[in-house]
Amino acid sequence: MDIKKLKFIIFLLLCFSLNFLYSKILTIYSDEGIPQGSNLYTWSAGGLGQFNSKNSDLLQVPVGTESFKTVSNPWWNPGGWWENWAGWGVVYNNEQNLSFYNNGRLRFWIYASVGNIRIEIEAPTGNKNQAKYLTDLGWSSSDINKWKFFDVPLSSFNIETYTAVKCPFMITAALGNSTNSTTFYVDFVRWVSSDVSSPYFNIKIKDIETHIQKSSITFNVNLQQVSSWTVANEYIEIDFDPNNISWGIQIYTDNKAQGANPVYTGNKNPCGLVDTTTTTRVLPMGWTIESSTRTKQQLGKGTPESWVYGGFMWKWMKDKNTQGFQNGENYITLWNNRGVLWNASDRDWKNSPNYIYLSADFSIAVGGRTYRTNQLKIELYYK
């Protein structure tokens, strides 16, 4: 074989294997913690810094309910001067080949009162090359004590390639000889590949059993076997990376919309699967969202208000024309900045991707008919 062709094939295989091995979003720090095989390191002047990686004293954080709180305190150096610096970083036990993200971005949120906070990446061990200060990245006095989103090209750290990453994120408040204590918060640090836009929102439909990608949601319904609620054969995988603190994702049908096929023509709640023969009739639908894929056995029948085994609750699906429908409200918001919104008092953050499962009630279904909506909407919004 031509050596060039061979090299090309090897290159393709390498690309494929990298795509297979790496997710598009590599979360470095979130409510879920840090990557497996890594540790949190902290440093501060005189060891006086205060750190809390699971801080929850802020009312609102961009993602989830916790953030990383750092307090940098002044320290009198025995040499005769004040020092004030504190920081932390995520450090892999072994250097990681993250070249998949070579042309990607470093994204994070920060809430700070000063701009002289330094961001660094160490790759390989001992090489930090080019540090970035918040002020270099566009932080200004108008951002004092506000959450601010940063989206930094990994190339700007002047590291040739990320084939041996020791520390994917280090942050340090470098306050010189200031004698004032300074607090800053960091949230949801991640590396994203070059094709992950900002904001990023992507869905895939996959078979519940095989996880093979499909083009639509289907149900296997035989009137003899199904008398009420049943779970769809496919689930929806959502992958997202918002850049606004007030983000959320909602789900609903819009069966009266232009382009709906069929259009619901009745005068009741149009939510669900519309009878293609008698378009005044619909079958109600339910949904739930999970942080990991589930089996049909775990999901149960999908009856709203019932529980997924080891997971969340099934909720009623609404339609945009359901009376009292409001964008971003409970029951239609399946995910927001705090986590899964299945119960206002009990939210849980799980990193993307997440998995939406659907169900429908076939108790009033008529044999030999097709029930359908082509207007099942999953929407990323800011509010």
Partner: protein
Amino acid sequence: MKNKIFSLTFLIFLFYILFISDLLYSQNFQSISISTVVAEAYVSDDILPPKIIHNPIKNISPLTKIAVIYGTAEDEKSLKKVEIHYKNSTEASYLTHTFVYLDTKSTTFYFEIPKDFIKEDIQYRILAYDEINSTYTIWYDVSFKDSISNKIDSQGGKIVLEDGNPFDAETFIFIPQGALDKEVEISIKEVANTLVPKKNKRPALSEYPFKVYKFEPSGLRFKKPVQIGLLYTDLNNDGKVDATEFDENVLSIFWYDGVNWRNLKSSVDKDKNLVLCWVNHFTYFGIFPLGSLTKDDYRPKEKIITPNNDGVNDFATFDNIPQGTEIKIYNLRGKLVRKIDSIPYEWDGKDYEAKDLEVGPYIYQFKIDEELIIGVIIIAR
């Protein structure tokens, strides 16, 4: 006045609550990205799963390698697909042959497993799908062998050597009650026709038999005739033996006497591709096309018999004799010593009372198509 001011303030407040706040709320909402998904359910009223009616094949002949899977699939609503999975018994992976149907309630399926696939025992199963249900059979075991054996005693019985073709019958032997006086292990083995001696030119029309079966134990003699049925192939059902130009009407069973292939009066069941005859001993039996017969073809080949039960020349066998023919044996003095009027048309050198006759020449006489055939057989000891 105060009341009016209060009422006005309240109305403004109410207006704000009802309209302005909602307006502000909706103004704050910003849709960033919407994905639209299609969800669809076909609700089937097809309640019953399909039915599969199939008579499983049990054996494949290594010589013909015919394995035809045939059956019927039915559904009360609409049959969509039939699949046949087949594999070597020792392997887990299988091949699939699929039949797709549109709006069919009942259909027959016919699939011949490729001959080059068949190398050992195989397994197969059948699956039928309607629009929502499916049915499948167990994995059927099919052996790949050229013989079968079984024990038969004085009660008699039947042994069948199956092939993999459900459209014809099977090679068999039927042993009536009393044909054996003790238990015997009987076997039927299909033999390649190139491994047996060629046929002398007449009355067979082909050099080799189309099919040969060896029945064992070799030389076994029965107390009364037993029926054998030998299978030939006519898969395309054109009335001719496959790969030949010979009409199946001319087929006949021949037996091998150690030197020659000799014809037995046979009948052909064309529906079942079977040639049948009655025999009273075991040897090789083959199927030949039979040409026209002359007088000599009816005469026994044994001119001299030595009836001492040594298995050699103990009998004189009259070939091709139609049922109902009467063969008379006379001594030289013209006395009728024996009459043979049913199969087997053999003379063992004995008289009516089963006593050994004296050595010397004897005259036989019988009629075929009103033509008298006369000859001499010598008893020697």
